[in-house]
Amino acid sequence: MDVNDIIKPENKVYGKPVLMNDNNMHYCPGCSHGVVHKLVAELLDEMGVAEKAVGIAPVGCAVFAYNYLDIDWVEAAHGRAPALATAISRLYPENLVFTYQGDGDLAAIGTCETIHAANRGENITIIFINNAIYGMTGGQMAPTTLIGMKTATTPYGRRVDLNGYPLAITDLLARLDGTCYVTRQSVHTPAAVRKAKAAIKKAFQNSLDKKGTSIVEIVSTCNSGWKMSPAAANDWMAEHMFEKYPLGDLKNV
């Protein structure tokens, strides 16, 4: 058996998604963003919807998502992705419109746009990367930062009296009549990655079927912001984040 036998399509168990290009990623090694990008790219191809897809990139570490996934993109202002997605989805009802947002983008500056787009039941998918920190700007506190967690703006740990409570915004979104599917996933183990992929697939299908707003939160790591190795960040996340942000479906209608 030579290499040409080995690379036959039927022997292939893994490959780079066709919609993902060769541009060098700016993400830190170990960051969850890269894994979720790959899932989105795989699904858009597998579901045969690359021609219909319009992604709305956030302001945050994923601001350059458009450099890596070969679909149409619009780069929104910080927090406003759901407003852009609303318009594009209403103007092109047959398109698959999704936003890809961090916790600062979605749950701080963009809370209003997020809640109202979801409450109107816009036929969009929101992919929400909750890494409990502002990765892009150098690791400041996010609305989702855990109590006691050290960040650049909570150097002694987040304190309730100074900073209030971590915001589980997905819980809130699940209660809105406009959402059809709200789920919390992670991508820290191969099994979790497979589940997250199934969740994003369901969300995309809901959008294509015009069922309302689907939200997939990915509880994520930011190993650079957390100042940990990628492996330690995965362990820390499982140990601390899942208590406040438990995995699983919050709503599935």
């Binding site: 690359a50 021609e51 219909k52 897809a53 319009v54 709305i56 990139a57 601001v63 350059f64 458009y66 070969d70 679909i71 149409d72 993109w73 619009v74 780069e75 929104a76 202002a77 406003r80 407003a83 852009l84 997605a85 609303t86 318009a87 594009i88 209403r90 103007l91 092109y92 398109n95 209003c112 746009e113 109202h116």
Partner: protein, 361 residues
């Protein structure tokens, strides 16, 4: 729908014009004195006739970003608001200017600063003509002074925005929004099909149909040498607009001894003042800038060589007068007359101000 003659408010004319000029989408949030725009659209239900999308957004921040999304996808979209709402939109407008997107924004100005008053004003002249948001950019700024122009400038605004791929703004004041006049509504312009949109806007982000090359709409460029190139391209566009799109109306300027430069409702009120003045033997002409940006600099300069003085009446503390002074140079006296806080002056007041300032009466 054929051409039609109607009696209506300026704000209602804006809404009817959007439908008839083939708008794909309107996104807005209520604010006095322009709420009739959204109300009229909702009453007209254009989604049942032309297929136009109309949506009441949760804020002006949302509505301008809906416009950003719609424009990025190649559609003919628009929002309207009044001063405080337009302030909230500045970030989104700056993004659209930087992304070279065609869109129409309408400001039916009220008095500020702050929550100010719901009465008419022209105090957002600086904001509209000098950029408004962050960064080096300009908006094509159209100043209607009649209900007919409220209607016509919706079509003109979109045509210019698509011609130059940059946002345009209609800067109306509350008087023009609220007053009722006869208006000739244009015949229905057909909305473009998605296929036609793809042809007109091959750059638009609306899905890689036929797996064409991907389109990305972004204002971000971290490499300063490339960002400078982008900025130079924006400036070339602005220069072309300045060369080709200056619009103004002249009333009695060929034989005048004095000149009034006024826009919007104050040009209309000044017209009456000038008629009264002619009866007293005073020859005053009016130059009414229709495009506030690009400003009719050359025409102001030409007339300033001939006249003995220029009066600039405005519903603000002196904003357009800066552009008039720059264009007129130091050879001629240029004086401001303004009412603030929502007060609209009568023609007598304008004439009195003129006589006091220039004739020492």
């Amino acid at each position: 729908m054929e051409e039609e003659i109607k009696l209506m408010k300026g704000n209602e004319a804006l809404a009817m014009a959007m439908i008839r000029y083939g708008a794909d989408g309107y996104f807005g949030y209520p604010i006095t004195p322009q709420s009739e725009v959204l109300e009229t659209l909702m009453a007209q239900k254009p989604w049942e006739t032309t297929g136009m999308v109309v949506l009441q957004a949760e804020s002006e921040v949302a509505s301008i970003n809906m416009v950003y999304g719609g424009a990025a996808s190649g559609k003919v979209v628009c929002t309207s608001s009044s001063s405080p709402g337009i302030s909230l939109m500045q970030e989104g407008i700056s993004y659209m200017a930087a992304s070279e997107l065609p869109a129409l924004i309408i400001n039916v100005m009220r008095g500020g600063p702050g929550l100010g008053t719901i009465q008419p004003s022209q105090a957002d002249y600086f904001q509209a003509t000098k950029g408004g948001g962050h960064g080096d950019y300009h908006l094509i700024t159209l100043a209607p002074s009649s209900v007919q122009e409220m209607c016509d400038f919706v079509g003109l605004g979109w045509d210019l925005a698509f011609k130059y791929l940059t946002p345009a703004i209609i800067l109306a004041d509350g008087v023009v929004g609220q007053m009722m006049e006869k208006v000739v509504l244009p015949p229905q312009r057909k909305r473009l099909t998605d296929e036609e949109v793809r042809q007109r806007c091959p750059w638009a982000a609306n899905g890689r149909k036929g797996m064409r090359k991907k389109n990305v709409i972004t204002s971000l460029e971290l490499d300063p040498s490339l960002m400078e190139v982008n900025n130079e391209r924006f400036q070339r566009t602005y220069k072309k607009i300045e060369e080709n799109e200056v619009r103004f109306e002249s009333i009695g300027t060929e034989d005048c001894d004095y000149l009034i430069v006024a826009f919007g409702s104050l040009a209309r009120i000044s017209q009456k003042a000038v008629e009264m003045a002619r009866k007293r033997g005073l020859k005053i002409g009016i130059l009414r800038p229709i495009t506030l940006w690009p400003f009719p600099k050359a025409e102001v300069a030409r007339l300033s060589e001939r006249v003995k003085g220029i009066l600039v009446p405005e519903l603000n503390a002196g904003q357009m007068i800066e552009d008039v002074r720059l264009a007129a140079g130091s050879g001629v006296r240029v004086e401001h007359f303004g009412r603030l806080g929502g007060i609209v002056p009568s023609p007598d007041e304008i004439l009195d101000a003129f006589e006091k300032l220039f004739l020492g009466k």
